[in-house]
Symmetry: D2
Subunit: 267 residues, 4 copies
């Protein structure tokens, strides 16, 4: 079978998403001689080497599973360490659109958490772009670093273990994502770090935070085009004979506030 | 004022989003000597040349406006021709996440419509990537072409005015977005066009279409990891003293079905 | 045709909902000799007298229409005067459930507005129950009175044109609905007016109001079982071949806060 | 303390909702000498006899709890047997509004399940009204009967353990609620049982059912004013300093289809 390693064909060292059934999903890197155990049977890594992705394999018990490339959203679902509340893909998608995220952009992140959002930003800005991430807690920064390393995205990210309320080193950045409890305290430094007209997104769990940030933005007079959103994602039971929304859903992760930098009045 | 033309500074030929107020928003390209009229006053293009984006300008009447870089979502709101129902940014965001869209990817699109989705795909795959777009209607294809040209994204897109149900030329593509009334009729050609394990997204307005496509996917046995979603976006009144969701919202654009290519069983 | 007047059979003086099509809906009382004009034709009232409800009739043009009993929700849609923002049926339904509304209950209402909520309360408590409604604005009270009279519910309602913040006359009431901008200012009077353990619902458009009322409730220590809700109603296109949610919806009317009266500690 | 037993004052035999904290909620009938055990301490029933509802009591451990009248929605949350999927209060509220439910109405129910909906209908039609409930499964009917007895509503309900597809005994009913897998098979009998112009609500979990019922209604030509709804209820964390929607919600229970009886054409 021809094809590119880790893109088309499973080679040693490639990441794999193994799907046994909806609840038994595993992400791992293939190592010759290794085994993956589950309550449905054992997978010998050797059995998947050389297969094209999308292939079926049999566990030791004869149970069938499927071998796939793990997407970023698959990693976020179960392939990464999580030390904090995280922003969800439904919100990441809107953030990408609001910030007009594209290859080559240089993006600021304040509040790294477990690095999930960092990964999304780094993935889309690509190897030509860069993400500058401020995180006040050293343990969080370490988790994020390990997650980004696992995803192969660490080279596009600079993690600074520092309180961004004390200042931001970078200038002329294309966009920013802020996820911290008191985002109003970062506004001045943020303004300096962004290029003219650049957008920033703030993620906040509580309505009180949104009201307070709106007030700070209004008072500053240094921002424009402010919008507040919330994304609700409904997933359906994918059954052709009984199509219906799932019984429960994630009803709230946080509010998303978007705003753009206004230039100081030139007098 | 230093800075890069069209990124930091408004130069002749740069695109501008002029915001007078929430309802008076204009997107245009700056031409020396030109004027933009509105019921609130006239803007002389010459007045914005040399300004950093994010600056305030005065119209002939003294009314203030703001000059910004138009984002893709701004264009989609009012800067492009629209000849068809379009997919909305709320949906585009999720599609980007589901397909793991990244710089350099080669993406298939079936059903171009006005080219909005094409623009999102082209923007994120970047200059190293490419979008192959099939559209059965010549007039639609023309509209999409003009829109993409306006956005400066046409060089990354190949538009084929052809019925994809008759076949798809490309092979080994990284992802696909399908927006057509009878997506079940494209499944075999689509399967051949995708690389192993690649994902496809289908956009459908009606539940009946979803049920029928699910049935076709189940019968074919050639796809896996099928999921059905719907994105609801709530926008809020961005007032610090009276924060509340807007009274009306777009309650439905379409259902999003995601699935992945399974390899044929090797016997 | 046998049957009861105004229940089964259209008699002179009975209310009628005439449905020509989805947008042409009229509510009126039948008067011998009268005519109803529309851009689709004229209905002679005499033509519907004696018909069972649910019958088809022909307008002067030959166009068909249907004659139905108007429900309360039909009146609220187009058969009543409206002088204010109103609470919607989707919210009324939840309020009925939260307050355990039943025949015979005595209910307080603060902020009558156009009387829509009054009508719902009066309808469910029935002839054995009663609604005491406070409204600070005389013109509103008049509108509500006319609406309730039209609905035949005025005899179950006492409207007091008075500021409830100055005191509430009634005692030992079974439930309350409060719709005013500053509901925190009514809490003490409200507490006195309710029977032990009774529930109250507050309707508020903005999140800030909810936060402030929650704070007042917490500080008072005189309430328990506080809950905050929001009801989203999606309507679908009722087409068997293309079932889909309507494109737009009422995304927000207000937040609903429920709480129950706690007895003062006996020391 | 003066007041009416079971309404104002807890007497022997009265129902009580004991709330220790958000997760420890108990509904029981007071019996002299009895005790209620919990992992937070024991309540002696004797300690609540004579208290007004809304009072605080102390458990054996000194932990405080509150004594309240259980509402119907409290019973549905944890005070009744449940043998089936049930319709939720959010849906009951809309059903009440759609059917214009009022004291004295005679209502049909097809598919009783655990009797939750029966209880709502019986509560609102009051002692002057009546509910006729068809249930094909004897064990379900028994559960419903016990639940209704517990709620003191059984005297307003006639439960028929019978397949309504074989026929409905009653005539001239004011409204109907149908909760069965194949509601299209009941349409003719239902039509005969309703008074002219009466409304019926169908509750269905899957979109396919809705599409099929819509088709049957269209083909029959005997119904009008058909509408399809879905109710989404968001609950908020009721914290004044951090107001936010709860993280998870019930995203789907079922679709609600409303329609009205059309009279047969008189020729």
């Amino acid at each position: 079978m021809s094809g590119e390693c880790c893109r088309d064909i499973v080679c040693e060292g490639c990441p794999v998403l193994l799907v046994i059934d909806e609840r038994r999903r595993f992400i791992f890197r293939v190592r010759r001689g290794a085994r993956l155990g589950s309550d449905r049977g054992v997978l010998r890594h050797d059995d998947v080497i050389g297969l094209p992705y999308g292939s079926r394999v049999r566990l030791s018990t004869g149970v069938e599973a499927v071998v796939l490339q793990p997407r970023l959203v698959d990693y976020m679902e179960r392939g990464l360490e999580r030390r904090s509340q995280v922003i969800y893909p439904k919100d990441h998608g809107l953030i990408v659109m609001l910030l007009d995220l594209r290859p080559g952009m240089r993006v600021l992140e304040v509040g790294v958490g477990s690095g999930y959002t960092t990964a999304v930003l780094a993935s889309i800005v690509g190897p030509e772009g860069h993400v500058y991430s401020y995180e006040i807690r050293g343990d969080m920064a370490e988790t994020a670093r390990r997650n980004l390393e696992r995803l192969g995205l660490l080279d596009r990210v600079t993690i600074r273990v520092r309180d961004a309320r004390q200042g931001i080193d970078e200038r002329d950045l294309d966009a920013a994502v802020v996820d911290m409890p008191d985002p109003w305290s970062i506004l001045e430094h943020l303004h300096k770090a962004l290029r003219p007209g650049a957008g920033a997104v703030f993620f906040m769990p509580a309505a009180n935070q949104v009201a307070r940030l709106l007030q700070a933005l209004e008072l500053s007079g240094a921002w424009t085009e402010t919008r507040v959103y919330e994304v609700l994602l409904r997933e359906y039971e994918a059954r052709s004979d009984a199509l219906r929304p799932r019984t429960t859903m994630i009803a709230h992760t946080g509010y998303i506030l978007y705003t753009r930098k206004l230039q100081a009045q030139q007098t």
